[in-house]
């Protein structure tokens, strides 16, 4: 459940927490685009270090590392999938001509799988720092001020708010089933997947039940009665926000330039030099 912990907002007073959520989201989207642009491991390694100053300034290093640790299982899965599919369908790579039999070709395959895994890690790392430093209330406010209909804002912020709740519930359900002798790590792969059924069914049933209860409680408090809603707080861009916008745009320009005009060598090619 540690991956969810890495997305749970914690109230800390820091320059990053005080940034406008719209600007932080813009920055994260730029990181997202950059991660999608590049397929070379070297470029993605550089990208991995981009959100680090954010993490240190926001003092959320421990939680951020936890989100990465939580994503490790999926990262291993992505690596394995890319490697296996790359092996059987090598035509997807320009550097390799099938069949794969030389060491260099294996290394290219490994590098490609590592790059795809790192791309996923970069995405998790940047979104984690965004959610760790942005309260669901600010997130909702940012969406509303961006003229997103209130119903969608509410649905989105509620979903974000309930992620840690669901994580806690999943942990309790796991405990309850373990107390009845369920061993999640027992058996072969199919058995292990089946072991999760007693966890998933109560989790889904409870989530549906909770959403219905929430809808009833919202309606009984006159949700949606007034078409025009007012807000106590409003977001205003400050100097630090403008600075982050400039930095983000510059990052994107550099990234697009590198993508278009600078050939990034593969690690395998560098090593063979």
């Amino acid at each position: 459940m540690s991956v969810f912990e890495g997305f749970r907002f914690r109230k800390v007073s820091s320059a990053i927490h005080n940034l406008d959520p719209r600007v932080k989201f813009f920055y994260v989207c730029i990181l997202f685009v950059m991660a999608i642009l590049f397929t070379k491991l070297l470029a993605l390694v550089v990208l991995f270090f981009v959100p680090l100053p954010f993490v240190f300034m926001a003092r959320v290093k421990r939680q951020w590392l936890r989100s990465l640790r939580g994503a490790a299982f999926l990262a291993v899965f992505i690596f394995a999938t890319n490697f296996i599919f790359g092996y059987f369908y090598p035509t997807a790579f320009q550097e390799i001509t099938p069949p794969i039999d030389t060491l260099v070709e294996y290394l290219v395959l490994l590098e490609r799988a590592a790059a795809m895994t790192l791309r996923f890690v970069v995405l998790i790392a940047s979104f984690s720092v965004f959610f760790l430093t942005t309260s669901p209330d600010h997130l909702g406010l940012a969406l509303q001020q961006s003229h997103v209909p209130y119903e969608f804002c509410f649905a989105f912020t509620t979903a974000v708010r309930f992620v840690p709740v669901l994580a806690d519930e999943a942990q309790t359900i796991m405990d309850a089933q373990k107390a009845r002798g369920l061993e999640l790590e027992r058996g072969n792969l199919i058995k292990r997947v089946r072991n999760y059924i007693p966890i998933l069914i109560p989790l889904i049933v409870n989530a549906i039940r909770r959403s219905l209860e929430l809808a009833e409680s919202m309606e009984s408090r006159a949700w949606g009665a007034s078409k025009k809603r007012t807000n106590l707080y409003s977001l205003k861009l400050k100097r630090a926000d403008y600075l982050l916008v400039v930095v983000s745009v510059l990052m994107l320009i550099i990234a697009v330039y590198v993508w278009l005009y600078v050939p990034i060598p593969s690690l395998t090619a560098l090593l063979s030099l």
């Binding site: 309790t172 359900i173 309850a176 002798g181 109560p202 049933v205």
Partner: protein, 273 residues
């Protein structure tokens, strides 16, 4: 026998939930763990079946250190009924739900059938054996959860907040049932806020506050000590409160049981005549 020696537990979030608990639960004993919210009651009992492992100190169940064995192994002797039955129900029928743990523990099909019949009968839910547990009322779901634990006949039974969501009649039945289990030499541990329930059952009480044991002793001694109950943010049973109000009339202040109170009052009335 369960022994906790200098038990400390800190959650990954840094919350220090238990701070040096020393406790022995003898075989066949009936123990109630009481205290305010966040006192560490559930955290303590989750150590008894190994769901949580001590950060410092140790917990021994029948002489076995809980650190050295899996939850599944400990669960064979220590049954844990969770507060919310919805955290464990997932099967299509009540019958399957009750058989779940028995299958996990590797019982033979004939034994499973026999034990399921016995548990359903014990909890008076035989008529629902082919019904989906999700279709039952809250109280009935709680009974299914209890049946699914009792089905494998564990030596120790831990019940976390067993009276929550139960109507008066169900509470009475539950009380009789727990006393019956205890009479059969089962070790029963309940975690509860319900002082009236504890007063009726009269077990040994552990009073907790801020991760420590504040006091322990017979219910009569603990629940009538006004200083202790105030420290643990609970209140004495109503009958004790009435007797305290009437202390000037020479009534005893250590009464928790309604039947005993009735006897005292009747004797007083007779004396007056």
């Amino acid at each position: 026998m369960i022994e906790a020696k200098d038990l400390h537990f800190t959650y990954p979030t840094g919350l220090e939930a238990l701070r040096g608990i020393n406790l022995t639960v003898d075989d066949g004993e009936f123990l109630a763990v009481m205290g305010q919210n966040g006192a560490g009651k559930t955290t303590l009992v989750k150590h008894f079946n190994g769901l949580l492992k001590p950060t410092k100190g140790e917990v021994l169940v029948n002489g076995v250190n809980t650190r050295d064995v899996s939850v599944a192994k400990l669960a064979r002797n220590v049954g844990f009924v969770f507060q919310n039955p919805d955290h464990q129900l997932f099967s299509e029928t009540v019958e399957d739900e009750v058989a779940f743990a028995l299958k996990n523990f590797g019982f033979e099909e004939v034994v499973i059938e026999k034990q399921v019949d016995w548990a359903l009968n014990l909890l008076d839910i035989t008529q629902y054996r082919k019904t989906s547990p999700f279709m039952l009322s809250g109280g009935e779901r709680k009974r299914v959860a209890l049946a699914s634990i009792l089905a494998w006949d564990p030596q120790v039974i831990i019940l976390d907040e067993p009276t929550i969501g139960q109507d008066y009649q169900q509470k009475e039945k539950l009380q009789q049932f727990i006393l019956q289990l205890n009479a059969q030499k089962k070790t029963v541990v309940i975690v509860t806020h319900d002082v009236e329930f504890v007063a009726e059952c009269n077990p040994r009480v552990i009073l907790m506050s801020q991760g420590k044991i504040l006091a322990e002793g017979i219910a009569e001694k603990i629940l009538t000590n006004q200083k202790l109950v105030a420290q643990a943010s609970i209140v004495s049973p109503q009958i004790t409160q009435i007797f305290l109000e009437l202390a000037d009339l020479g009534l005893p202040t250590d009464v928790i049981d309604v039947h005993e109170a009735t006897k005292i009052l009747l004797a007083r009335l007779r004396d007056r005549r």
